[in-house]
Amino acid sequence: MRNPLSEKIVSVKPSGIRKFFDIVNEMEDAISLGVGEPDFDTPWHIRDEGIYAFEKGHTFYTSNSGLKELKQEICKYIERTQGIKYDYNSEVVVTVGGSEAIDLAFRAMIDPGDEVLIPEPSYVSYQPCAILAGAKPVIIDLKPENDFKLTAEEILEKVTDKTKILVLPFPNNPTGSTLGKSDLEKIAKVCIEKDLYVLSDEIYGALTYNGQHVSIASINGMKERTILINGFSKTYAMTGWRLGYALAPKEILAQMLKIHQFAIMCAPTVSQYAAIEALKNGDGDIEMMKNSYNQRRRFLLNAFKEMNLPCFEPNGAFYVFPCIKEFGMTSEEFATRFLQEEKVATVPGTAFGQSGEGFLRISYAYSLDTLKTAMEKLEKFITRLRKHVQ
């Protein structure tokens, strides 16, 4: 029999998160700090709207790009948070989560041999999606001494005349790092100079703790070269509804829409109705969740300080990224032993790229009580390790 598989897909490595997941799943009483989704339920008024949508029989396809009212609300949201104007009719597509939007963007823009700059550590899907689209991924290793922020210099070091897209994953999963306006202006300058497009994954944009998130699309001259990706999962605790969106110049969006049309048809209809309610009346929910995350973030940072575990102050998303280099183990060894010995699951930094080596992703999408117990266990664990090291 012939080999049924595509060489290209076989060559893509499975997600590093997955491997760890199987170990955790076998432990029944483990505390997990490993999730990448909010612990909050979707706010009731949003779920209620979903129920109404079912009752009213909104169970058919929507137009490929999404419900008109939803696209209008998305544009209003981006205008009120970022001051950028998009045309709902030609510059928005509603997708099955932000992850579909990432895939669409690459496939719409990449020709074989094009290079894509991917800063790491970052979300696990950029590289595989870029490869599947035929691109050559070029990794930028973000540096701990810069608090894992991307700098214009780092782009210049890796840019070639084949570089077409820069992935900009901020606020960042797994580090929680954010970029401010001045950082973005420098990056924008390079993008314009080198004629790069930016895939700006702003899925955590609503979750920043020291100043509001700034989108690179709001910088002069950048809207026309930015694919802005966002969604409802993290902002409104709606992961399971599978709803995201992309905003892009209409020439790019038209091609993305074509792929979406053939591969997906449209995003889930009921989710789209619920999302309209989220955008119209959900600002208060965001504020409430953000306050809560911020308190937990402070709690963890203080706990690390008290146990002398170095960690920069992350200002976005719901992750902290402490450094465990002093223990002389790889992130994976550390996470595995921590899980086995104290039954607390964290994710090794290397699941998000080689430059995550020596770090641990800890999610604070958990109740304070859970975090407290986990930090007591972490302290016990590292105290034991430190004794051995001496």
Binding site: I17, F20, F21, V24, N25, A30, S32, G34, V35, G36, E37, D39, N291, Q295, R296, R298, F299, N302, A345, V347, L368
Partner: protein, 159 residues
């Protein structure tokens, strides 16, 4: 700072000062002073524990009583309210707009005890025109907390 402190301790009055200081990124002493001030000013009136008595062996009967009264000249509802709220079995008392005047919530050990209070104490007050008693059969949610159904974390352990 007040609102921030209140928003946390409204949900968790057990939190210690050190944790509270960390969560709010404030100085411990400042928080302690602010809380003391709020206690003095009566902003913070007390610290209660929310108990699901159903899960204990203690028998309790709760009732809501709608009371219609004749307000008194120069006193309005206040003096009649005072006569009612001084009974220790009265849990809370509200002046209400709409079809009746006062809403009394009551906790007693037995049905008999509650009935006795209503018929003997409450209904016989001069200014009380009528009462209507509703017994609580099940508590689903109280003080913003759902007590009827424990929540389970359905998320995948790692994602």
């Amino acid at each position: 700072m007040r609102e921030e402190i209140l928003s946390v301790i409204a949900k968790n009055s057990k939190i210690n000062l050190k944790d509270l200081a960390v969560l709010l990124n404030k100085n411990e002493v400042d928080i302690a002073n602010e809380i003391a001030d709020m206690e003095k000013e009566g902003v913070i009136c007390g610290y209660h524990t929310l108990i699901d008595w159903e899960k204990t062996s203690v028998e309790k009967v709760s009732a809501l009583i709608e009371v219609r009264v004749t307000p008194q000249r120069g006193q309005g509802f206040d003096s009649i309210a005072e006569r009612i709220y001084n009974y220790p079995e009265v849990n809370s008392l509200f002046l209400i707009s709409g079809g009746f005047d006062l809403l009394v919530t009551l906790e007693g050990k037995t049905l008999k005890e509650v009935s006795y209070f209503v018929s003997d104490k409450l209904a016989t007050l001069d200014t009380v025109l009528s009462t209507s008693t509703h017994f609580i059969l099940k508590k689903y949610k109280q003080e913003g907390l759902i007590i009827a159904k424990p929540k389970k974390d359905e998320r995948e352990a790692i994602s």
